[in-house]
């Protein structure tokens, strides 16, 4: 299988602190990879390097086999890498449709550039389709996203990223602020969405969720890569759970 | 690394540096600068706005501010002149009470009704302005008796009474702010309001009290003005809100809250007072004062921003 995204020998230091130490990372086509590790393991730093917020001190990034330079978030977006951070970066008092099309609004005709006349109907229609496609229930797409539940807001953020980014989708702790039922719905959504992108990376603290959704997990501890664990063919087992925990914490359980 | 530290030190003390430079400069440029009379002039300049600045500092530390201080000042002065025939006690209490009441309403709007400072104090500013115009139109509001005149221009050990009031107020407030739990709470509210709540700080009470305090200080300032100015008019205090906010910010208290102190504000008030005085001595047009004040304000926040960003 092809590697959609590959990072080799990534090292990143902040002052005297080594956040990442010679870390490799790979994402295969159609894969959902869970990036796990305890606090301070380096997960956040790694995805910030992928999304262009940080530049690695050492190491290379390959997208679909080709070496790429990602110097800022706009580079990442241009390459088709979309990141959804915990705060979702939504416009609270705008509608779902306005959020999805923020910055890339559809205008009537090609004239005018930024002064172009908004094609509200088209945007609403497409937004509705996108949302329905993913089976998200949003009563009124014209409603301010402020009024939506945590899970629905996540869906709007995901819909936005999927629409514009088609290579890699990165999600930072998507289920962290959600309850049990909403987390379930969100994981379902992610499963449905994998067909629209080449690969998904999910950071999560919640091992249950990772086991539930990911094909594979990559474990970091204290800035180093501990290993990669296949999840897909393992089924549900305490073994898997224990193995992951011991890799994360570095302690052996008997 | 080292340049950053040096820059930081300079940035923290930029106002004192400017003050010292100005004093040196003006001593050369004007033979009158160092005289007793002139220093008294400077002190006069800074007393009224200085007193209000105490309250403004406390407000800004909590991420609020008060646009109505100028009108409140006018109100206090007007009330004071109106009440003077009833004797000093009534006059003083009346003026301070009126101003504090305005402050109380500001405080309630901001903390309990959840208005933001801008709108609440803007509305109050309009209201007080109208009120003062109304009062002044009707009655003859002018003329102060000798009694008050003596206070305004009298001195104790060669220091004008108003200045003593100011110095006492700012010293006491400064100590309260920096050394007591009360003061800590104020910084907490401005720096991290959510954490402040968790610590059981009654944010609403603090904010309301701060506005009441500012109002009361406007009352005191109004009384002082009343002892020196013969007539109350709606034009009183027209630019006061800008001047006081400028002084506090130039002094180094951050508009974003949580950082600053009364000593800094004193510097801000002092530097603006010296500039005003210097320009009068050198016969420079007073309009230039406005320009320089505005320029300093912007310069200070820009420099502060650059130094802060550089450190990162």
């Amino acid at each position: 299988m092809e590697k959609v995204l590959e990072l080799k020998h990534i090292t990143k230091k902040f002052g005297g602190v080594v956040a990442l130490d010679d870390v490799d990372f790979e994402l295969y086509e159609n894969e959902i990879v869970g990036l796990v590790g305890d606090n301070g393991a380096g997960k956040s730093t790694l995805i910030k390097i992928i999304s262009g917020v940080y530049i690695p001190d050492v190491g290379e990034i390959y997208l679909e086999g080709k070496k790429v330079e990602i110097h800022d978030p706009k580079d990442a977006i241009r390459l088709g890498i979309e990141t959804i951070y915990q705060d979702l970066a939504l416009f609270d008092n705008l509608s779902a449709s306005a959020n999805i099309f923020a910055g890339r609004e559809i205008t009537i005709g090609k004239i005018g550039g930024i002064l172009g006349w908004l094609d509200q109907k088209k945007m609403d229609k497409e937004a509705k389709l996108l949302i329905e496609n993913f089976g998200i229930e949003i009563r009124n797409p014209k409603e301010e996203v402020r009024r939506l539940s945590g899970g629905q807001r996540q869906s709007v953020a995901i819909s936005r990223s999927i629409k514009w980014g088609n290579k890699v989708l990165i999600m930072d702790e998507p289920t962290a602020a959600l309850g049990v039922k909403e987390s379930g719905k969100l994981l379902d959504l992610i499963r449905r969405v994998i067909g629209n992108v080449k690969g998904i990376v999910i950071i999560s603290h919640n091992i249950e969720h990772v086991i539930g959704i990911a094909n594979r997990a990559i474990v970091l501890r204290r800035g180093q890569r501990v290993g990669s664990v296949q999840i897909a063919n393992r089924g549900d087992s305490d073994d898997l759970h224990r193995e992951l925990v011991s890799m994360i914490t570095g302690l052996r359980h008997t | 690394m080292n340049t950053n530290i040096i820059l930081k030190r300079i940035n923290e003390n930029k106002v004192i540096i400017i003050i010292i430079l100005l004093i040196i400069l003006l001593s050369f440029l004007s033979p009158v600068f160092h005289t007793y009379e002139n220093i008294v002039n400077v002190v006069f300049e800074i007393t009224v706005e200085g007193i209000i600045a105490i309250g403004m500092t406390i407000l800004i530390l909590q991420k609020n501010f008060d646009l109505s201080v100028g009108s409140n000042l006018a109100l206090a002065a007007t009330v004071a002149i109106l009440l003077q025939r009833y004797g000093p006690v009534v006059t003083i209490i009346g003026a301070i009470l009126a101003s504090s009441l305005a402050g109380l309403i500001n405080g309630i709007m901001v903390s309990y009704l959840r208005f933001n400072s801008f709108v609440a104090t803007l509305a109050m500013m309009f209201f007080l302005k109208g009120l003062v115009f109304y009062i002044v139109n009707g009655e003859t509001v002018k003329g102060i008796t000798q009694y008050y005149y003596k206070f305004g221009y009298g001195t104790l050990l060669k220091i004008p009474y108003p200045a003593i009031v100011f110095l006492v107020l700012i010293t006491v407030s400064g100590i309260l702010l920096s050394k007591t739990k009360l003061g800590r709470h104020i910084y907490a509210i401005g720096g991290n309001p959510i954490a402040a709540q968790y610590f059981g700080i009654n944010e609403k009470a603090f904010i309301t009290s701060s506005f009441v305090l500012t109002g009361a200080l406007c009352g005191i300032a109004g009384l002082i003005i009343m002892t020196r100015v013969n007539i109350a008019s709606g034009a009183l205090g027209l630019y006061t809100n800008i001047d006081v906010i400028a002084a506090v910010i130039i002094g180094g208290t951050l508009f974003s809250g949580g950082y600053g102190d009364l000593f800094k504000t004193f510097q801000g008030i002092l530097v603006l007072g010296i500039i005003a005085n210097g320009m009068t001595l050198l016969n420079i047009q007073s309009y230039l004062q406005q320009v320089i004040k505005g320029f300093l304000l912007v310069l200070v926040i820009v420099i502060d921003s650059i130094v802060t960003v550089r450190r990162k």
Binding site: F91, N93, G113 | Y134
Partner: protein, 312 residues
């Protein structure tokens, strides 16, 4: 529960409209003189000055900033226009607009590049520009050339409607379409709602913010040209307080000071509402001081209602 929410939402968004209708009903009973054609045109004419500024201010506010310098820009622009009238008609129009544009640009750049609060920056500009204007004219008014075609810009009417009203109408129309129907306008809402998120999705957030300041200043200059062409004279103190009046109208119209939400048509309604109220008070022979107090009360009332009804 659902229908209750919908009813409240509908009511809250139209509260200004209902208040206005209520006002008109009350006026028809108590102040019938209000409804003469001459009076209505008078109201509209007086409303146009602040109206144009308020329309531009709406854009700034929705974009998440505040521009307190517009009043001073009005003063400077009027003075520049009349001064250059002696050289050429075109310069009289162009220079103020260009200078205003430059001022707006500077306001914007400083706010954006140094990440400092627009309140402080524009407060500084307010002082600087007013001071410069006063310096330039030496405090005096500047008189224009009698009979100059310049006067035709703002005085007289187009088919019975005072020219300023016509300009106001077109400005209102233009800016409404810009804000609510174009990509540009939508992105202004975005940067006001969440500046950082806007940059994440590729919006040129910084550039847009600067543009809002330019728009504000340029339209303030335009308003000044209308005023000075009608009066054929310019005062360096013209425009004092306009920024607060404009902001009041915008807030009464329902735009939030925090950015990201608002409506230009509602701002216009706010302007008309306040102007009507003013006019009614004059017709009722009420002291002009009431104007201030009523404005204050309305401001507080509308903000209160906005806050209460916002979080249902």
């Amino acid at each position: 529960m659902q229908s209750g929410y919908k009813v409240k939402k509908f009511f809250s968004s139209q509260i200004l409209l209902y208040s206005f209708i209520l006002l008109l009903i009350l006026l028809s009973v108590f102040v019938p003189a209000f409804f003469s054609a001459r009076n209505i045109l008078n109201i509209l004419r007086q409303a146009s000055t602040i109206g144009i500024i308020a329309c531009a201010m709406t854009i700034v506010l929705i974009g998440g900033s505040v521009d307190l310098s517009v009043g001073s820009v009005v003063g400077l622009s009027g003075v520049l226009a009349i001064s250059y009238l002696y050289r050429s008609l075109w310069l009289a129009i162009l220079i103020p607009l260009l200078v205003a544009g430059l001022i707006g640009f500077l306001n914007g750049i400083i706010t954006v590049k140094f990440k400092v609060d627009s309140v402080i920056v524009t407060l500084g500009s307010l002082a600087i520009i007013r001071g410069v204007t006063l310096l330039y004219t030496g405090g005096k008014m500047v008189d224009g050339i009698l009979g100059s075609p310049y006067m035709l810009i703002g005085s007289g009417d187009f088919f019975g409607i005072p020219k300023p009203v016509v300009y106001f109408f077109f400005v209102a129309l233009l800016l409404s379409l810009l804000l609510h129907k174009t990509k540009f306008g939508r992105q202004i809402f975005c940067i006001g709602s969440n500046f950082e998120a806007s940059r994440t999705v590729g919006i040129s957030a910084e550039r847009l913010k600067v543009i809002t300041f330019v728009i504000s200043a340029v339209f303030a200059a335009f308003s000044a040209i209308l005023i000075s062409s009608r009066l054929n004279t310019a005062s360096p103190l013209e425009g004092t307080g306009y920024e607060f009046d404009a902001i009041t109208a915008v807030i009464v119209g329902g735009t939030s000071l925090f950015g990201g939400r608002g409506s230009l048509p509602k701002t216009i309604l706010g302007v008309l509402f306040l102007a009507s109220l003013n006019n009614a008070m004059i017709l009722l022979n009420l002291n002009f001081s009431f104007e201030y107090m009523v404005k204050a009360f309305l401001l507080a009332l509308f903000v209160y209602l906005d806050i209460r009804l916002k979080d249902i």
